[in-house]
């Protein structure tokens, strides 16, 4: 416990920043999904940090559920990307605009 808690939180904030930047700048739908996973992981890091520093395991239980939801989200999201690729032959999110009016 010799590393201050702020260091972990700043690392988590930086990883969230790169995740947000990745979602906004990248045009490949799969890389956008990977950036979302990065943001989920930075939130996990914050939860584990506080859980460990407080000495309470509830935060790590919550991380377990976040991982479950992330696995489900990745499976469904990648299936959607495969279905989109089958219909439009692209994963570029600028060209996937069927919901645009």
């Amino acid at each position: 416990m010799s590393v201050p808690i702020e260091f972990y939180l700043i690392l988590s904030a930086f990883m969230f920043f790169t995740g947000v930047a990745g979602v906004l700048t990248r045009r490949n739908a799969i890389v956008v999904f990977m950036s979302i996973e990065l943001m989920l992981n930075s939130a996990n890091l914050t939860l584990v940090t506080f859980s460990s520093f407080i000495g309470n395991s509830i935060g790590q239980v919550f991380v377990f559920f976040v991982m479950t939801v992330a696995a489900a989200e990745a499976a469904v999201g990648l299936a959607i990307i495969i279905a989109l690729f089958r219909n439009k032959q692209t994963v570029n999110i600028d060209e996937i605009n069927i919901l645009k009016w």
């Binding site: 990883m15 969230f16 920043f17 930047a21 490949n28 584990v48 520093f53 479950t68 299936a79």
Partner: protein, 178 residues
């Protein structure tokens, strides 16, 4: 400088560098591999934080299962025009980096201003006992049994949903029936 600080510096710099490299590489396969490196470094940080169970699950579930799924899909689809995909409008790119930077500055300001170290009193023995499989399993199967069942149901629904979404439609007639 004790071992904990040295390990934290190593793992955190690997995590930060690999996350930046992940969003700047053109090839989606290389991005996925840097994300695996990032998850492995995070597992090391979880071990520094005495969260053994979460570190192991991070390696098995994230670096093992989810990233294999991602790599599989990337290699299956092989997005043809990577170069075109990467070259977005530079104005949009600058704007999105500004937005992300605002988020980072807000978070950093909150973290440094709120002084979280004053609210927590690190206790090594309690921290170690909180991260063991025993205590997490005790919480999961007593107080959190209903969320565990809900998570299992969610995984079942996600499995069926992924199968239905990615299923190959053999005939056009069948797809019109639904």
């Amino acid at each position: 400088m004790n071992l904990e600080i040295i390990l934290f510096i190593i793992f955190s710099s690997i995590a930060a560098a690999s996350s930046v490299l992940m969003i700047t590489r053109r090839d989606a396969v290389i991005s996925a591999l840097f994300l695996v490196l990032n998850f492995a470094a995070l597992a090391g940080i979880y071990l520094i934080l005495n969260a053994q169970f979460i570190a192991v699950v991070q390696i098995i579930v994230y670096a093992g299962a989810i990233m294999v799924l991602f790599l599989f899909v990337v290699m299956l689809l092989r997005p043809e025009n990577e170069k075109k995909i990467f070259e977005a409008n530079s104005k949009v790119k600058i704007f999105s980096f500004v937005i992300a930077g605002v988020v980072l500055i807000q978070l950093a300001y909150l973290i440094l201003k709120s002084n979280p170290a004053s609210d927590v009193s690190p206790d090594l023995a309690r921290s170690i006992s909180a991260g063991t499989v025993e205590s997490i399993g005790m919480e999961l199967y007593t107080n959190y049994i209903l969320p565990v069942e809900a998570a299992g149901f969610l995984l079942l629904a996600a499995t069926i949903g992924a199968l239905v979404l990615a299923k190959k439609k053999f005939k056009e007639k069948d797809s019109s029936k639904g």
